[in-house]
Amino acid sequence: MSLFNVFNISGSAMTAQSQRLNVVASNLANADSATGPDGKPYRSKQVVFAATPVGEAGNNTSVGVKVTSVAEANTPMRVVYDPKHPMADEQGYVTMPNVNVVDEMVNMISASRSYQNNVEVMNTSKAMLLKTLTIGQ
């Protein structure tokens, strides 16, 4: 029954979007982390989405989403002049994370809206399936 596949499609999209939201939360939380477990400043991370077939093999109309990797952004690090900072170099500059807070806020809103869209799709499909069960009554 193909309508049940919609739950897999929307479910995969919701998983992917919540992972994106997770990464945004990490980036925002670490926007000022000048050092991490490896002694280097935190680097901004982004999820990479890819379309993936769901359902039985040979079914090519139902396409879900999966997160193929979490890539580190290669934008330049933010350099701040703060001689009193313990991580400052000889010239008094501190290398800070390359997190762009505005980008992350936009990403957060986009992820949350896409998540809501998929919840809506799931609810509609559920209503349709329940109506189908009442056929002939």
Binding site: S2, I9, S10, S114, I135, G136, Q137
Partner: protein, 134 residues
């Protein structure tokens, strides 16, 4: 008699199957709204229903006479009707052609028409039951 009942319900059954398949396609489009290079897909419902009901021959296959020939018409299909790509109104930089306004509108349209088909099919069942019970 059983064949007649089957015939009476055939049209709505086919329409419902097609609506469900299209629902799946539209759900895939909405799910992949943020996937780079994803192309939105849809079927032409009217011609798909005609093909599924056998009123038209559908697409003819091509005969290949050499290993270098490409077989025609091997694209994705839903009940014999070809799945087509939507043309982008406002193309985006990441190659994604999902327009959320179009997809949402088509999704709601499709689910309402699905429920309409369900209602018609249910009424047909009631008619048959009334005829049987007298």
């Amino acid at each position: 008699m059983a064949g007649r009942i089957d015939n009476a319900l055939q049209f709505h059954q086919t329409a419902l199957s097609l609506r469900a398949a299209r629902h799946e396609l539209l759900a895939s489009n909405i799910a992949n709204a943020d996937t780079p290079n994803y192309k939105a897909r849809d079927v032409d419902f009217a011609s798909a229903l005609q093909t599924a009901m056998g009123n038209q021959g559908g697409t003819l296959g091509m005969t290949t006479t050499s290993s270098g020939h490409l077989p025609g018409g091997t694209g994705n299909s839903v009940m014999g009707a070809p799945v087509m790509y939507r043309s982008a109104v406002q193309p985006s930089a990441d190659g994604n052609t999902v327009d959320m306004d179009i997809e949402r509108a088509q999704f709601v349209d499709n689910s309402i028409r699905y429920e309409a088909s369900l209602k018609f099919a249910g009424d047909k069942v009631k008619d048959v039951l009334a005829a049987l019970q007298g």
